[in-house]
């Protein structure tokens, strides 16, 4: 393993405060590098308290300049954290950044061991591996590619709308893809919004309208993304446009078809199951775009072959039963995912009786009920549609903060419960019980809202409700829903009779979040929410460059935060567009064609579609602009014809040799 290339290698061992030096004898590692690895070309070895600080980085820069170092190894934290830092330091001193390696002696040594002596030996081995590897490193040049100025926004809830408008208003084109027939998301279902109680429609509809009519926004509703190829700056996205069975260019949105359609169905979507819609419908009169869709599963014509009332009634002959789905491929530079959340299925908490006890409602049902444009025109009534309740119980944390369901807090339910308490009081003057575990009202003007609801006379009971039942124990309980709860403030079990129960159900990741994540090449947390690049410092980026996330798709949050994230993601995208080009890591795979037998094993493996088979020459080829250096094909090629820069066989085998080298022998 002697180094016949006569390199000049500098080794820098970091204490990381005491993070490393507490468990690793840093001086010993330094001495090993200086003495034990001198034959490998190490000409200088130093240790320093914080290598990543400016003086630390300057040490490296100075040595490169003064000692003429041509390779650098920094033994410190994980490459995830500071590889770029040290590569940049080398670059500033005129050394190709890819001739600098980071040896992780924190994450892989000091943090995972307690025996100082053994940890020091291991740190020496890790450093030796890095030295052997860096000898095999080749200087690499970064690739620059232009960024396509268009952006794809997936999901037209408030977060997606906000992001799309920000970008469009800056003069850049946006493709806004929404799965449902209208944009608006959950917010479009609400009546009032906490904490200011402005009407959801009043603040949302103008935004929806603006997004629907913006010259820079190409709105594609009733559509879904089916394929994503390419990489940051140059994505190629296939969008499936589902058939509406109506020619949009002819439809004027007059709604006559909806009026005439003879088929009424329970609307499980927008109306949350408490209202009806027709077989040809829009979510609401405010829907954007205004075009209806035909629900083929309930349409007489599609099911029985007769009817065609909509076709006959349409004054512009817009109905088209023959319409087929269409696929469209668009090029974009960046993508924002704002796909939102699903709601917890209240049926799972069977002791609360939802689905069994008619007067137990979910929060989203109640939102629709309160809405002036909803099925009850805003009247708060029992399931019979006419009786006004006298007493209402609101239960927090249904499905949230509960190990049996979701262990996390859904963030908005406390405020949403308080909002309901206020609305019930305001409209019916009823007695309202609010059953909470902890009251969480930390955002701006939230706690003030809580105080207001307290003053309005809502009765707060602190305790987790055990059961909601209609089984009466005595005559006075007949016809009531009994809420069984331990009131932890007075330390007593209580049985409280109410007429109506509202369950504040929690937020959940979209049922298909995992597949969506996979489609766009991003990850999900254990709970299923999209994972941020950095939970604190980069909450709207993902590990995949060019893919951003915003709104509740990353976890439960309220409208202001969703909007702020939409804007933040847009700012990021605009930043990318303004830069005009991205620098791509030069870590790429390539096929050595002399060795390629054209077996085609690699051909269908590349997640970025970078590999093509050249029929004429019977060999495979990799497009370096598409290759992301994931290494899949390198591992798969049985002929060893594919090699990855930065991870060549020579580098990896040298590193293994280094790791296995006897580091105690030379120490003595």
């Amino acid at each position: 393993m002697s180094n016949d290339k006569t390199n000049k290698i500098g080794v820098y061992v970091c204490h990381c405060g005491t993070n490393i030096s507490h468990t690793v004898d840093v001086a010993k590692v330094r001495d090993w590098a200086a003495e034990g690895l001198g034959s490998e070309g190490v000409v200088i070895a130093r240790d320093y308290k914080f290598m990543c600080s400016s003086p630390g980085q300057e040490l490296i820069e100075q040595d490169i300049k003064e000692l003429g170092l041509d390779r650098v190894v920094v033994a410190a934290c994980s490459p995830h954290l500071h590889e770029l830092t040290f590569r940049n330091a080398s670059k500033r001193a005129g050394l190709n950044p890819y001739l600098t390696e980071l040896a992780s002696i924190r994450e892989q040594v000091s943090w995972v061991h307690t025996d100082k002596e053994a940890a020091t030996e291991k740190a020496k081995a890790v450093v030796t591996g890095a030295v052997e590897r860096v000898i095999e490193n080749e200087p690499l040049e970064e690739l620059k590619v232009a960024i396509h100025p268009d952006t794809l926004v997936v999901g037209g809830g408030i977060a997606g709308i906000q992001a799309a408008l920000e970008i469009a208003n800056a003069g850049k084109k946006v493709w806004l893809v929404e799965r449902e027939a209208s944009i608006g998301g959950h917010m479009a279902q609400f009546d009032k919004t906490f904490p200011t109680l402005d009407c959801a429609a009043c603040i949302l509809t103008p935004r929806m309208f603006e997004a629907g009519n913006h010259p820079n926004i190409e709105l594609m509703t009733w559509s879904e993304v089916t394929n994503v190829a390419g990489y940051v700056g140059n994505f190629s996205v296939t969008i499936k446009k589902k058939p509406r069975y109506l020619k949009e260019e002819l439809c004027t949105g007059c709604r006559i078809c909806i009026e005439k359609c003879p088929t009424k169905v329970v609307d499980q979507g927008y109306e949350a199951g408490i209202g009806y819609r027709k077989a040809i419908y829009t979510s609401s009169a405010q829907a954007v775009p205004k075009y209806p869709v035909i629900d083929t599963e309930n349409c007489n014509f599609f099911q029985k072959g007769t009817c065609k009332v909509c076709e006959k009634s349409c004054p512009t002959e817009a109905i088209d039963y023959e319409q087929k789905e269409e696929f469209l491929t668009v090029d974009v530079g960046n993508i924002i995912l704002a796909t939102g959340y699903d709601l917890f299925d209240a049926r799972k908490v069977s002791n609360y009786g939802y689905g069994r006890l008619p007067n137990v409602f979910t929060s989203i049902e109640f939102e629709r009920m309160c809405n002036a444009a909803g099925p009850t025109s805003g009247d708060i009534v029992l399931r019979d549609g006419k009786t006004t309740p006298k007493t209402v119980g609101i239960i927090h944390c249904v499905g949230s903060r509960d190990r049996n369901y979701n262990n996390y807090c859904s963030n908005i339910c406390c405020m949403q419960s308080l909002k309901f308490a206020h609305l019930v009081k305001e409209r019916t003057g009823d007695t309202v019980y609010d059953f909470y575990i902890d009251m969480r009202t930390p955002m701006k003007a939230y706690d003030e809202f809580y105080q207001r609801v307290l003053e309005e006379g809502t009765l707060f009971v602190r305790g987790k409700v055990a059961q909601v039942t209609d089984a009466a124990r005595k005559a006075s309980e007949e016809g009531k829903l009994m809420v069984q709860v331990e009131d932890t403030l007075i330390g007593k079990q209580r049985r409280i009779p109410v007429d109506m129960v509202i369950l504040s159900i929690g937020m959940e990741p979209r049922h298909d979040a995992k597949e969506t994540g996979k489609l766009f090449g991003i990850g999900c947390s254990a709970n299923g929410w999209f994972t941020e690049k950095h939970a604190k410092l980069d909450p709207i980026s993902t590990m995949t460059e060019g893919i951003f996330i915003a709104g509740t798709a990353t976890g439960p949050k309220d409208i202001p935060t969703s909007v702020a994230q939409g804007s933040a993601a847009a700012a990021r995208v605009l930043n990318m567009i303004m830069r005009g080009e991205v620098t791509l890591e030069p870590i790429k795979a390539s096929v050595y064609q002399g060795q390629c037998s054209g077996c085609r094993i690699c051909n269908s493996l590349c997640p970025f579609n970078a590999i093509t088979f050249l029929e004429d020459r019977k060999v495979s080829e990799i497009n370096p602009a598409l290759c992301q250096g994931c290494g899949t094909c390198v591992a798969a090629c049985p002929a060893g014809a594919i090699s990855g820069t930065g991870f060549s066989n020579d580098q990896i085998l040298a590193q293994i040799d280094g790791l296995l080298m006897d580091v105690t022998l030379a120490d003595a």
Partner: protein, 330 residues
């Protein structure tokens, strides 16, 4: 002027390599015309002491076939190395360990036990071979088995490698032609350590079958696929064909006649571990994302060691890297 000396020696092997050399037909006369055959136990009588009497490097070309299975093999390897200018690791046993190398899956004692107790073995006294035996005439010895099979290059420095089980006759003839041309000053020797008498890519390159995108739903033994499509890639038909990872040079003999490649030409250029390469390659084209189904598909390869390491086990990464071996054992 006396002719340069030629030698061929066999150690742990089946003898097929010798046959392959003879199989070059009249070309063998060129060998005789250009070389003085100093030592070739299969073909002519000569004793080890005759070799020992030679000057170092007096033999110009020594073809060594066979693995290093016992101490005598190892001793002879050192001797032939010393006496030869060019030592060629000839055939799969010498180069990769080949079938004898599969013995490395078991401890030596177990191998011997099995060999002396099979159903067809007539061994009423249940005897085992002894390295030292006393007989009335005195003490006789046989070489002890080494605890594992080594390749020639794991034991001595090797100049060239010639893969194949056995090497194809046309390749042997070509190599002999080359050496003669070098002797006549008409050609140059390849760089030391080179693989000679073989191609650089894999069997697929020489295979005439049609290749498409691969998506394998089941692995089957070749006799269970009836009839095998004569035009289509064998692997695509679900028969685990080792062609994609095996060095070219045989003119794709087996796949051309409807049998899967079993890998006798060893790893292609640049492949560090033959079996690992094949495993990742096969795994890559399994058409399923369901772990249980994948298990089922993999069950279609009942003997993974035989499938992936039939020829290469002694030279695989499993056997510890060559450098570590050299430091610790020789």
């Amino acid at each position: 002027m006396s002719k340069p000396k030629f030698a061929m020696y066999w150690s742990g092997s089946c003898g097929g390599c010798e046959i392959a050399v003879i199989n070059i037909h009249e070309k063998i006369l060129d060998v005789d015309a250009n070389f003085d055959i100093a030592f070739w136990p299969v073909a002519m009588d000569a004793k080890v002491k005759d070799v020992e009497a030679l000057e170092d490097e007096e033999i110009l070309l020594c073809l060594w076939n066979g693995s290093i299975r016992n101490e005598e093999n190892e001793h002879m390897a050192h001797l032939m190395r010393k006496k030869s200018k060019l030592l060629v690791s000839f055939g799969s046993c010498a180069t990769e360990g080949c079938i004898p190398g599969l013995g490395n899956l078991f401890p030596v004692a177990e191998l011997i036990d099995t060999a002396y107790t099979t159903l067809t073995t007539d061994n009423p006294d249940n005897i085992r071979p002894q390295t030292v035996t006393q007989v009335p005439e005195g003490e006789i010895t046989i070489p002890a088995m080494k605890d594992r099979v080594h390749t020639l290059a794991q034991v001595v420095d090797v100049d060239y490698f010639m893969p194949g089980c056995p090497p194809e006759s046309h390749q042997i003839a070509a190599v002999i032609d080359l050496v003669i041309e070098v002797l006549q000053g008409k050609a140059e020797l390849p760089p030391k350590g080179a693989v000679i008498g073989a191609g650089h890519s894999t069997v697929c390159e020489e295979c005439p079958r049609q290749r498409n995108l691969k998506a394998i739903k089941a692995f089957r033994r070749i006799q269970d696929v009836a009839p095998l499509d004569p035009e289509l890639c064998i692997l695509e038909q679900g028969v685990p064909c080792n062609g994609p990872a095996t060095r070219s040079g045989c003119k794709a003999r087996c796949p051309s006649v409807g049998a899967q490649c079993i890998g006798c030409y060893g790893p292609a250029e640049g492949v560090v571990d033959y079996g690992a390469r094949l495993i990742t390659a096969f795994a890559s084209v399994i058409d399923s994302k369901d772990p249980e189904e994948i298990e089922q598909i993999l069950d279609g390869i009942p003997d993974p060691a035989g499938q992936f390491y039939r020829f290469n086990l002694a030279d695989s990464l499993f056997q510890a890297g060559a450098p570590a071996f050299k430091k610790n054992e020789v």
